[in-house]
């Protein structure tokens, strides 16, 4: 009896797993594709002068409160992205800080704001669809009315972008949404709009990639024209000295690609950007989930087998137990 049932259960379970495994290749998913009209940012660290105009403009455009990290609470001095700060300029410092965009005894500026991943972890992680990726523009948005505040997105994001207001009784997630709320007024990302040097540029990802390709053909140290504000918008370009770019464009391949792309003269790891594999974690996680639970085939098959076995085993025992109880 024992043995027989055991084998039956094993067989049933095996069959169920096989069904699940068979459906696996169909559901395994790769990285998602770039949306057709993807919007994004280009951050060129060699052009950034660290004026923090973007930080101030972001606060104003998104109606965010100031944040203090100094004893005298006079100025908005965020240390990092937080529930109150969606965009921050950080400084890489080394030794005497003599020259800009140099690793040794140099300094460089780094912008931190949402990367608008092509295949975002936060969207995949969110259990209640509060994080959404716009199918057309690819902007990753957040809906606080849907959010349950589980902070899985905060933990999942490899860039540390979604942040949470821990100090609020009615908290929410804070993240850059590429100023989509300003689009209807014909405006665009405030950080790019105010950037005096065009270090932060707004535009379609296609245009941004063209601009990156152009910059990489320029000769370092020579003068060239650099656009400001929005690519494809009114011409605000101005002459500046071409920086020494690394060969690496951050966000081109990392993590399945991001819609904020970056150029720099110092390695991106120094600027606080992790070295990430080309495959997105969302693709891995969803492949696993779909393999196990795709169409609920495997769970239902296993449940069927378990029910069958349990039915044989439960009834006599409980009756027996009840009889003994009396």
């Amino acid at each position: 009896m024992d043995r027989r049932t055991f084998f039956k259960a094993s067989l049933a379970g095996g069959a169920a797993l096989a069904t699940g495994a068979a459906s696996c290749p169909a559901q395994a998913r790769g990285n998602k594709d770039l949306p057709p009209e993807a919007l994004g940012l280009l951050f060129d660290s060699t052009l950034c002068v660290g004026c923090k105009a973007c930080v101030a403009a972001c606060k104003e455009a998104n109606d965010m409160p100031p944040e203090f990290s100094t004893k005298d609470q006079y100025w908005d001095t965020p240390l990092d992205l937080s529930g109150k700060t969606l965009n921050v300029i950080k400084a890489y410092r080394n030794g005497t800080m003599e020259a800009k965009d140099r690793v040794e005894n140099g300094f460089a500026f780094s912008k931190k704001s949402c990367m608008h991943c092509v295949d975002p972890s936060c969207v995949s992680a969110c259990p209640v669809s509060a994080m959404q990726k716009d199918p057309k523009t690819g902007v990753v948005t957040y809906d606080k009315d849907a959010c349950i505040g589980c902070r899985y997105c905060v933990a999942a994001c490899p860039f540390g972008v979604p942040r949470f207001t821990y100090d609020k009784a009615i908290p929410q997630i804070s993240k850059c949404q590429l100023c989509v709320h300003r689009l209807k007024d014909g405006k665009y990302a405030a950080c790019a709009e105010v950037c005096p040097t065009g270090a932060t540029l707004y535009g379609t990802v296609a245009d941004i990639k063209k601009e990156i390709a152009r910059r990489k053909t320029l000769e370092p140290g020579k003068q060239a024209m650099f656009p400001r504000g929005r690519l494809g918008g009114p011409d605000q370009s101005y002459p500046n000295v071409v920086g020494k770019y690394l060969d690496h464009t951050y966000g081109e391949k990392e993590f399945g690609g991001t819609q904020m792309l970056m150029l720099s003269g110092v390695p991106f790891e120094k600027l606080g950007y992790p070295d990430l594999p080309p495959r997105s974690d969302a693709a891995l996680s969803e492949t696993l989930q779909h393999t196990l639970y795709g169409g609920l085939i495997a769970p239902i098959a296993v449940l069927g087998a378990l029910t069958f076995v349990a039915r044989r085993n439960v009834k006599p025992e409980d009756e027996e137990g009840e009889q003994h109880g009396k």
Partner: protein
């Protein structure tokens, strides 16, 4: 075997007011006050969680470890009803009760941790529910399992309050709930591991097992289930002054030992396969806690290797405690020690945060005591078994 079946459950009776229960009550009350404060002033007012460690012990311990420690019921149901090991039947109800409280409190403590808890129902609501999310799967399965467990356990109430008709009808369908009660925990206990997949490189290589995470978490959940059954059986025997159930526990531990051996083999092979074992020899906290965790699994593997050792109540109990610590560490390590979202972030639970966790555990024990004294849970003590 028939002898074991004769252990029909019966209420223990006895006083509910003892110094121990009063202490538990006080601890629960402190946690309640802290939680009230948390709901008025936000999570940051009470906990030390931050954007670098958005999940603190309220997730890593209360939910992830808490639910795993509550796997006794699942494991006993699996053994007794699926593998038809009838001799363990006396262990089912107490284990189920512990699981019931463990899971219910894990579920409730999720609410404590959720920032926007009033939206909790969104998870189950079409239009909001996001089926690609591992969290969705975990939440739905845990909730369903809590409901299923209450149904599974309801015969104990129904007996008490005398609703014989309902009980009889339920008995006829019970097999289905029992099957569900085996499936659901397998699903979400594995998925608690899958939660870490999307964290990618943010999890230290010693714990980022990728596609093997669900297997590792499920195996350890079952191991924890065994360990907890042994632990609880021993504890309630000594605590309530009842005879030891070593005779039932010995064969149980044989199965547990086999599973433990395969788990340790899998874990080591996975680390070797991914080339992550090297990081275990670095001078880091992660490496240190990895070795503590592994010791908690390997020591019982050694001490319970022989049948004679498995007959020793002391060795069984020690092994169970170590396994519980190991399973706990695996989860704490995976979710906190091995989690790093970037340099410069620190987290250690605040005192208030700890007290809430302590309070939840205290409340769980308190409720268990009340239940076994008032409801037919533990097998009636028969002097003959001693």
């Amino acid at each position: 075997m028939a002898n074991n079946h004769a252990h029909a459950p019966a209420p223990l009776g006895g006083s509910l007011l003892t110094p121990f229960t009063l202490l538990l009550g006080a601890l629960s009350a402190i946690a309640g006050i802290i939680l009230a404060y948390r709901f008025f002033y936000g999570l940051g007012a009470v906990t030390n969680i931050n954007d670098g460690y958005p999940w603190g012990i309220w997730v890593a311990y209360d939910v992830v470890v808490g639910s795993a420690l509550a796997c006794g019921g699942f494991v006993m149901a699996l053994l007794v009803y699926i593998f038809n090991k009838g001799q363990y039947h006396p262990l089912v109800r107490p284990a189920l009760l512990a699981s019931l409280f463990g899971y219910t409190l894990a579920g409730v403590s999720v609410i404590f941790d959720l920032g926007r808890w009033w939206n909790f129902w969104h998870i189950f609501w079409p239009g909001y529910a996001q089926v690609n999310s591992v969290m969705f799967e975990v939440a739905v399965c845990i909730t369903a399992y809590i409901v299923v467990m209450w149904i599974e356990f309801s015969p104990a109430f129904l007996e008490k309050i005398g609703m014989k008709d309902v009980k009889r009808k339920l008995d006829k369908l019970l097999f289905f709930f029992i099957a569900l009660g085996v499936l659901l925990p397998s699903m979400h206990q594995s998925s608690l591991g899958s939660l870490l997949v999307i964290f990618g490189q943010q999890i230290h290589p010693l714990w980022q097992s990728g596609m093997l995470l669900p297997v590792i978490y499920l195996m350890t959940a079952v191991l924890l289930g065994f360990a907890v059954v042994i632990f609880e059986a021993t504890l309630s025997s000594t605590g309530f002054g009842r005879p030891l159930e070593t005779k039932v526990l010995t064969p149980l531990s044989r199965i547990m030992w086999g599973l433990l051996a395969s788990y340790v083999a899998l874990r080591v092979l996975d680390l070797l396969w991914r080339g992550a074992l090297g990081t275990a020899f670095a001078a880091t906290w992660q490496a240190f806690w990895f070795w503590v965790e592994m010791a908690c699994f390997i020591v019982p593997l050694a001490t319970l290797a022989s049948d004679s050792a498995r007959r020793s109540a002391s060795k069984l109990f020690t092994a169970a405690v170590l396994l519980m610590a190991g399973g706990m560490l695996l989860r704490i390590n995976g979710f906190l020690v091995g989690y790093q979202t970037g340099d410069g972030w620190h987290y250690f639970p605040s005192f208030a945060e700890l007290m809430v966790t302590v309070g939840i555990i205290a409340f769980e024990i308190l409720a268990y005591i009340v239940f076994v004294r008032k409801f037919p849970v533990l097998p009636a003590a028969q002097p003959a078994t001693r």
